[in-house]
Amino acid sequence: MRDNDTWLRDLRASGEQRDAALADLHALLLRALPQGVSKWLSPENPQFESFIEDTAQETLLRVLDGLDSFEGRSQFTTWAYKIAARVALNELRRRRWRDVSLDRLEEEEANDSAPRQFASSDPSPESVIERGDILQRVQQILAEELTERQRAAMHAIHMQDVPMEEVARRMGTNRNALYKLLHDARLRLKHRLAREGLSPKELLEMFAQE
């Protein structure tokens, strides 16, 4: 069994030394991947074996490409498996969602409407149910603070279980940028609620009450 330095040395070598290391890593990936993906792709699926093989091949390419980014903070094989996990799951996400229409996400950025502006409507003091008023205020805040695309992205992720990766692809961005965009949106909403004296936790508790 190679240690980290030996893996790096052998994979950076040429000829037989490198081929042997690649063959060993390939074999390790073929052994580990089925367990790693069986939750998302059934081993009964006729494409299972070819999927594992394709993922292993793609992982080897990315491992060779990324050798310089390995910092030795884990076992080399754990690092390679991490790459395999992402390659496998991204491909499964793509396959699962490629034929599903998500129109609201794919509208041109230029058409992204500004947050909707509502006429100010103060909660009516004689309202029978205070919760209804608060709910309306929260709805208004969501409508005012989020753009149509942010709303569409959050809807796809929270309500349709569309992966972040797929939402990002449809929006012409990447997952990392989408996460940052949504974090900014969440923070803006949270701050706005705080300014209005509302906290998400308290709202959830209030709505959970029977």
Binding site: A32, L33, Q35, G36, V37, S38, K39, W40, R73, S74, Q75, T78, W79, Y81, K82, A84, A85, R86, A88, L89, R93, V128, I129, R131, G132, L135, Q136, V138, Q139, L142, M154, H155, I157, H158, M159, D161, P163, M164, E165, R175, N176, Y179, K180, H183, R186, L187, L189, K190, L193, S199, P200, K201, L203, L204, F207
Partner: protein
């Protein structure tokens, strides 16, 4: 008086049923509020998590308290379904007994 209370309750219940749809948040708002409740001022990105995921999973498998020394990774995994899946997949690869 108990009878009055009962009557008030039934009136209240009637209102509650009548106005249920704008009295309860829709599922989307519920999810939004849940994610807002978990939102932190500083969060790390998917790339940041991926960079240390191997290290993080090994620490988990060694039984270390990752909440203590990698709380930002843990928080991101709670917020991001894609990174959470990749974490779980990696855990399964390293520990076949994990299901």
């Amino acid at each position: 008086m108990p009878t009055n209370n009962k009557m008030m309750k039934s009136i209240f219940d009637w209102f509650r049923r009548r106005f249920k749809k704008w009295y309860q948040p829709d599922p989307m708002m519920q999810k939004m509020l849940q994610s807002l409740a978990m939102t932190e001022e500083h969060e790390i990105s998917c790339d940041d998590v991926f960079a240390v995921l191997d290290q993080f999973v090994e620490a988990v498998l060694r039984g270390e308290n990752v909440l203590l020394f990698m709380p930002l990774v843990r928080q991101h995994l709670d917020m991001c379904p894609d990174c959470r899946e990749e974490y779980e997949s990696l855990l399964r690869m390293l520990q076949p007994a994990f299901t």
